[in-house]
Amino acid sequence: MNNFGKSGKPILAVEDLSIDLASRGGRVKSILKNVSFKIFPGEIVGLIGESGSGKSMTSKAVLGMMPERMQVKSGLIDFEGKNLLLYTKKEMQKIRGSRLSLIPQDALHALNPVVKVGVQTSEPFFIHKKMSKKKRQESAIELFGRVKIPEANLKINDFPHQFSGGMQQRALTAMSISMKPPLVIADEPTTALDVTIQAQIIKMLKELSTDLKISFLFISHDLGLISSICSRVYVMNHGEIVEQGNISDVFLNPRHPYTQGLIGCRPKLLGNLRRLKTIDADLSDNGFISTTNYKVKKQNQTASVKSVSVFADAKSYEPQVTKISKEPIFDVKGLSKVFFTGNSVFQAQRSKTALSNISFSIRPGESLGIVGESGSGKTTILRILLKLIPYTEGHVTFGEKELSKFSSNDLKSFRQLVQPVFQDPYSTFNPRFSIFSSLSLALEVQNLSEKGSRKQLILDILDQVGLPYELSQSYPHQLSGGQRQRAAIARALLCNPKVLLLDEPTSALDVSVQAQVLNLIKDLQDIYDFAIILVTHDLPVVSFICEKLIVMQNGKIVESGDTKQIIMDSKAEYTKDLIAAVPLGL
């Protein structure tokens, strides 16, 4: 195999590793197929793939933490000259943490909430070196300094909830490098973190690698991220390594169609793409990636127009709010929201200002992106606009009416004209009902159609979002995440809305599925001409979908205006930080 110019012995060499999963029914499924890769001392190697590609399973195999039902069929894992697959559980325990360690995926749940962070971080010293308590505390302070946790001597006595997400990940990193192991496996170490924090963590990992000569196996689904930290990359798909090489080779001249698709389907920060590339269905036929290859057929436009007229017939009332020309649909002025916690009698009431003085407006057919990190109040805005929670001050007008002064008739038409798509595809449908049943509920409560025509309408709309009709009888858990998000979009569209409110609609999806859903949203907007308010932390997604942009921080708008303009020439310091933190890729 090509050593890419590296000389010397690799620290980890996985050769021809195949792993099977035996299911309870006796069926055998191949999880890893002939996986081979090498990591040399001091190197950061990327392993990229989507969910189900087997990348996490690879890391588990190396760490000797495979589930019982996994069986190694062939291959070897050569770590410092010894085959790890032959190690007993006890021997593995000795290596883990001292020679080989892990930075886990979900930083926010990886620390024990009832044990001081300093104690947890220095645990390896106790386990592997039997160090005294006092010495452990000193080394914990030193480690905290290394991962740049300020005021280390105070912070070691804090509990995990007193740490921010980024700090928790730093503490976990400190733990994993505590014994100065030659190899650390970082399994999606930044997925739960905001982009600016992510950039800091990446910088820190790089420094650790050069300072301490630690090799990293960096597992991620994020191409931009991989290309900003790794020198070499392996691309995994369906348990196989489909491409490998130097980062620039792979990213600039991808040879395998899967890699090409992966690179093309990620929206660029300043791309002027009309559509994102998608990965062909036949390439991913094992159901790991949403298998429905969707296309919006132009002839369907007539079908949708037809259904619109059905809606118009069914509407007996003539709501004022629909008479909108180019007046703003939503007009928000001086909006603020204060949350109160602790109830009256026994606890002192505390208040937290989630939003202050927010103003913006959106006109029919426009698309507006609201970008901010966690805690910026972007989801709160959305929930206010959906009239799920009341607001404290200011004015939100829909059409000509103030949101808080709706009559029941206004509310009825509002509930038709404003529709949400939520972030989590797993809870967006009631698990007890089939997709068809959930969709027909939408038509039923909206009173939008005769009972007989419902089936046809649902059939049309499912076709529009690229879901085969057979799937409508399935229950939500039988669909993939991407399919569920499509169904959620279908449910929203059934109401023929004027505004679609999207709350991170793609952040829980794989990049290739994300591309399909983003394309779908854009195409549907062309056909139905609804306005979009998109809430997300993901700047490239906003720049793909929205022409207007609001950047939020701590409940305030820091910048707003034309998307392209803001990205190219941002005025606010925070926006600049946000843009700089987006891993650009090559």
């Binding site: 799920l388 698990p431 509920l441 858990h477 039988q478």
Partner: protein
């Protein structure tokens, strides 16, 4: 569509329903099924072990134990089922209402439930029956009321998690009216755990009834219920263990069947277990 149904998940229900109907039928047709009059004394065969005439022996007054178990099932099943229906319905309604409206109503209802929880179950039943008089119906009512807080807490907890799910907000945004949100979105997700809780409550109700009879508040001797048979049999456990063991076994079998039924129903009701 028929062939898409996974029959294996109906196995438990198909297995338990005939057995439960057997128990229920023999109880309701006790007049025809029972070999002896459950109250007929026969001092000649006092504390006799199983014989050809008396299949599971006789008790301290020479009454046929098998007949008394069959007649006793009438009271025990009635108490169990009625109490669980009262407790389950009341608790579920209170729990869902508390979770749905939240705030002040939630506070009031749940504090009320905690007050009910404060009293030992037996004491509460005694207080209730001191007020309303002793009768088997009042015993069922009392036991049912004791169950309400447990069901209410369970239901409220589940309903609250359901309410945080996106599909509930999606339903609100579709303009689904409140009563349908409760009936269609919340209730089906609550029903499974409530059903399982109900089978446990059933067995507890039968035992509680026996404790109440022991205090002279439930079914009164010579009337037979499984609970008071177990109780009176205790005194003879060394000479004639069958007097309490046999109704105990009947209780065990019934509770076990209801538990299995509960599991089976949960499997059917939960679409996630389809595969």
């Amino acid at each position: 569509m028929l062939r898409n149904i996974n029959w294996s998940k109906y196995g438990l229900v198909i297995f338990t329903i005939p057995l439960i109907s057997l128990i229920v039928l023999s109880a309701s047709l006790a007049n025809f099924v029972a070999p002896y009059d459950p109250y007929a004394l026969d001092v000649m065969v006092m504390l006799e072990g199983p014989t050809k005439e008396h299949w599971i022996g006789t008790d301290e007054l020479g009454r046929d134990v098998l007949s008394r178990i069959i007649y006793g099932a009438q009271i025990s099943l009635k108490v169990g089922i009625v109490a669980v229906v009262i407790g389950g319905t009341g608790g579920t309604v209170i729990g869902i209402v508390a979770a749905y409206f939240g705030g002040f109503i939630d506070n009031i209802l749940m504090r009320l439930m905690e007050i009910v929880f404060c009293f030992p179950a037996i004491l509460l039943a005694v207080i209730l029956m001191a007020n309303f008089g002793t009768s088997i119906f009042n015993a069922m009512l009392a036991i049912g009321i004791i169950f309400i807080p447990g069901f209410a807490r369970l239901t409220r907890a589940i309903a609250q998690t359901v309410q945080r799910q996106a599909f509930l907000e999606a339903a609100i945004c579709l303009g689904v009216p409140g009563y349908r949100i409760v009936l269609r979105e919340i209730f089906p997700n609550v029903a499974g755990p409530v059903l399982v809780e109900a089978t446990v409550a059933f067995s507890y109700a039968v035992l509680l009834e026996s404790a109440l009879s022991f205090l002279g508040l439930g079914s009164q001797p010579p009337e037979a219920s499984w609970g008071n048979m177990i109780n009176t049999g205790r005194g003879f456990i060394d000479q004639a263990p069958w007097i309490s063991l046999a109704p105990g076994a009947a209780l065990f079998a019934t509770v076990f069947m209801f538990n299995l039924l509960g599991d089976g129903l949960r499997d059917i009701l939960d679409p996630k277990l389809n595969e």
